[in-house]
Symmetry: C2
Subunit: 198 residues, 2 copies
């Protein structure tokens, strides 16, 4: 079965393809670069679930493929859950700007510079929505609790991974082997829940 993940983020496609390969090996995952281009709507939702559904509905209605939309981000306790749905555009830089991830990460670090260590808790959150051509839809949510550190470590993962240490770990999620990260990640949890329904 062909399934469209409504993203152009290659790292995300790779991460989700690994998850789906185990749970739903009959599924062939393609991304937005593999289908005819269409004008994508902006992410106007104020929750991860809203944005995931917006993306999946748009992709399904335009391509006719069963489509997955995901939205994820870092929720920092001291920032009242922000950057949240704004994680990818936290620094205000437009999509495609070189090192936008780095700018976002550095901005969060600057914002929490004076926050005491004991208040650096947070979570990675992911909502994964699937919309079928016949209109059925479902949303799954995954979370990974942890804490922020003040200096980036590690080259794996993407986004805020270099400054996030999951509960029970000492390595950042950018330092964990991919399979180990998938096993505990917000996205892994949301996508395994989704994959189990395929």
């Amino acid at each position: 079965m062909k399934l469209l993940l409504a993203t152009r983020n290659q790292k995300k496609l790779v991460e989700l393809r690994r998850v789906l390969a185990e749970a739903a090996p009959h599924v062939s995952l393609v991304g937005l670069d593999d289908v005819p281009p269409y004008p994508e709507s902006p992410e106007t939702g104020l929750t991860f679930e809203d944005n995931a559904l917006l993306k999946a509905r748009e992709a399904a209605s335009i391509t006719g493929l069963p489509s997955v939309g995901d939205d994820s981000g870092l929720a920092v306790d001291a920032l009242n859950g922000m950057p949240g749905v704004f994680s990818a555009r936290w620094s205000g830089l437009p999509s495609g700007t070189p090192d936008r991830d780095g700018a976002n990460l550095r901005l969060v670090l600057a914002q929490i510079a004076d926050v005491p260590d004991e208040h650096l808790g947070g979570a990675f959150v992911c909502a994964a929505a699937i919309v079928w051509p016949d209109g059925r839809e479902a949303v799954h949510r995954g979370e990974m609790r942890g804490r922020l550190i003040r200096a980036p470590r590690g080259d794996g993962g993407f986004g805020y991974d270099p400054i996030f240490v999951a509960e029970g770990y000492d390595l950042t999620t950018a330092e964990l082997p991919p399979a180990e990260k998938d096993a505990i990640s917000h996205r892994g949890k949301a996508f395994r829940a989704l994959a189990a329904t395929l």
Copy 2:
């Protein structure tokens, strides 16, 4: 009576001096530039009230003067109440950076670029704490509800004033005459409440 406002922000001193002139004309307000310098602690609080108290306690204990600490900021609904206590350092630029206010404002505008108009509500919030040399202390809170606009207007005020329109108004708080702004502002409310106790 000499009262110290623990700030180096001249615009804030002027704004608060106007408010106090009416409500407590016997009070002579001085700022941190008018007292011997001391190393100021970072604002580590996660609420406006915490930060206002931290500043007032530090100033009173070091100078021996009755001291006011205030903390204020913009709470954007779609950003879960952020920039909040991080309003002045939202863009991550260090204090003293030229046009830091402008950078903060532009960052908020970029972050809310895709947020629909109907979700652009917010409030300016101020906490004003007074700490007396004998240890008595009190905190007063003021709020001004309104909504954000997408392009700055007006040269008055400071901070996020050019993108904030108070409830019942069409002009931004940067376009309002200072006396009119004082009458409705978060800081005016908090400081009138504080001044009434002097």
